[in-house]
Amino acid sequence: MNRKRFVVFMMFIDFLLIVSGCNRSKETDANKGKDREVVVGLVSEPDSVDIHRTSSTGEANIPLYDTLLKLDNDGNIVPNLITDYEVIGDGKEVIFNLKEDAVFHSGKPVNAEAVKLSFERLISSSPFSTNAGDIDSIEVLSDYSFKITWKDQFAPFFINATTPFLAPLDVSVLNGEGEGFEKNPSGSGPLKLVKINRGDSLVYEPYKDFNWESQKPGFDSVKFRFIPDEETRILEFKKGNVDVLLNVPYQYIEDLEKDSEVTIKRVQSDTLSYLGWNNKQPIFQDVKVRQALALAIDRESIIDNTLNGEAQAVFGPLPKTVFGYSEKIETMARDKYTRDIDAAKKLLAEAGWNETNKDGVVMKDGKEFSVELWVDDDPANQRAAQVIQNQLMEIGVKINIAVKESATIIEQTPKGVHEMLLWSYGWPDADVLNFLLFGKDKSKRLHYENEKIYSILDKAAIEMDQEDRSKLYEEAQEMLVEESPFIPLYVKENVTAIRNFESFDVHPINNTIEWTSVKVKE
């Protein structure tokens, strides 16, 4: 390189630096954004904004949709797009009436025809079509009235209709192949999509024709930013570039609480973490063994050591926010399974595990009680697995922890190749006991078989009277507490950190931001 070329090269470097300076000032301006822009920091981007395609609903795609029914703050099902409904005869037919002023983001009305077309697309293309039940026909009775006929009664429909999976969307925006919603979405929720920056952010504006409960929207735009790294996300919030930080990692809560400008909102999650096992494995066949394991667990210690105390211990099969929860069952389970090492050891001895080897592991017929515990790569879950390992070792049960990717656990556990797993479930209705945990041929992770429980859960799924249904679930849960086919552990607190808001609410049951309540500080 001669001197002349060197000089040219240095000029090029100078040019880059000047360009970078220009970009910086642009960036500073861009960061200011609109006056009342709300920036929400999220871990990951939803797979899709199309509710009939995605498997991941979250804050970034839920506000596109308004639901047919909704849950009030006490967890009761109340009207939303549907104003009222009438159950006909044995409950296989239900007539629904829609409110007449709801409008899709495309400007078209949310009428019976639109709901029918939306259900037809849901049934034909959504992986979550089972949430609608086994529908025989949907009939449009008038502009704002329709009738659904099921092949069998389907009681969970009403609670499922409070989720965005069954929310109507405007199918008229779809192309000939039934696709295209991804780029031109139209629901009837509080936020209207403005721009998709794949991998980076989703930008929304408040939808003017949404029912803002006699107020004007308290913000001009919302930007959901996807920041996968925990440290980066926290720094963006502390620096003021993010206004709402969802799912604050527990180790940072104390630090954020010291900041007088920051408000921390806590809402109990509806996702129950549990210690489960493959009930088909011979080692877990004896109920005394299962009860002994439950008696060895100290939930408070797990919560304090792994979640900084940000969770509530749960002893019964359902958490408080789920329909079918029973205070009586929770108390009964708490009384029965509050930690008692002596009682646990006694039960193990009665089950034949009465020898102990030099490492302190109990043995039966020369074989030690040693099982593998599968846990996903979430650091908090891994810490919880270590605490459980220590607690079970106190009764002589040896746990070998195996960290696996979630995708692997999801695929492998239905095959029954696992022994024990630390996992969770979240669904607003007790039917989850049937379709996911203990129903006939549906017990994918726990592989539990009990004809009596099958029969009760099947009855509950078609019982249209909510009180009778609740009683059936109570009966099933009582049996589950006695049988101990898994150990419910805790529900985490969903912690949200916010800054610069006059008002900002999170729904206490379904944990979503209530956009009608959001008002940015002027």
Binding site: S20, D47, G199, R225, L235, A407, E411, K442
Partner: protein, 306 residues
Amino acid sequence: MSSYLFKRMFTMIITIFGVSVLVFMIIHLIPGNPVNHILGDYATEESIKELEMRLGLDRPILVQYFSYMFQAIQGDLGTSYITGYTVVEEILNRIPITAQLALYSIIFGSITGIIIGVVAAVKKNTIYDQLAMVLALIGISAPGFWIALFLILLFSYQLSIFPISGYSGFYSLILPSITLGLGTAGSIARMTRSSMLDVIKQDYIRTAKAKGAGSYRLIFRHSLQNAIIPVVTLIGMQFGYLMAGAVVTETVFALPGLGSLIVSAISTRDIPTVQGLLLFMAAMIIIVNFVVDLLYTKLDPRIQYE
């Protein structure tokens, strides 16, 4: 030259074909499948079968491979099972960021590495040499996420010079490029030093010195130009390293590039996206190395391809 080009093109096609087989095998061998991810906990046996049929996953593996390759040859890398976007669309959306990141990292790594390497060689066995080699070692061995967080804390959080994360033009790529380029700089510094030390010992350098060549001319004209060939080879090879490093860097800096896309595609077992991206990245690495080979003839006229 033309027969050389023909031969290289042929081996490139064979290599890409080999990569496609390997990628296809690996993605189908690892546990977990996209159907389970899409349907999640609430899937029924019928819905699993139906979705497998819809996605074509019920066909024999060889049929799936050949049908994929037949479409790939025509430029169709398939459609993501998860997002509904075509893989080509996803790549085109994100390639500008990763390409810029790789380019700036290579520029930063090469300039810094060559300067440090030259200083170390010229000042051999002095404190400058030792300091330069310690710096190079730090560049090579410090983990990317650690460097990234250190740079963010200092330059973005404390000094407010750069944005913390996200993409907003060239300025937002400076810290990621430094993060990614430091490892490259370390390797290039070490290679430049050893290559320069070999050249400095040569007779023609002594002759040039005896003829009164100035130190600037001696170092840059006579030594560095002759020592640069192995360094250029290394720069070409670093491209693969940069692609791998981009995965971590893009995640920490929340950049919507190919690296972050591949992380999410693997975790959701989005087979078309993973296959398409790996195939694309492999093709890029092969092409860059091919270009580097061609560059030799420009850098050193003695090298001719027959």
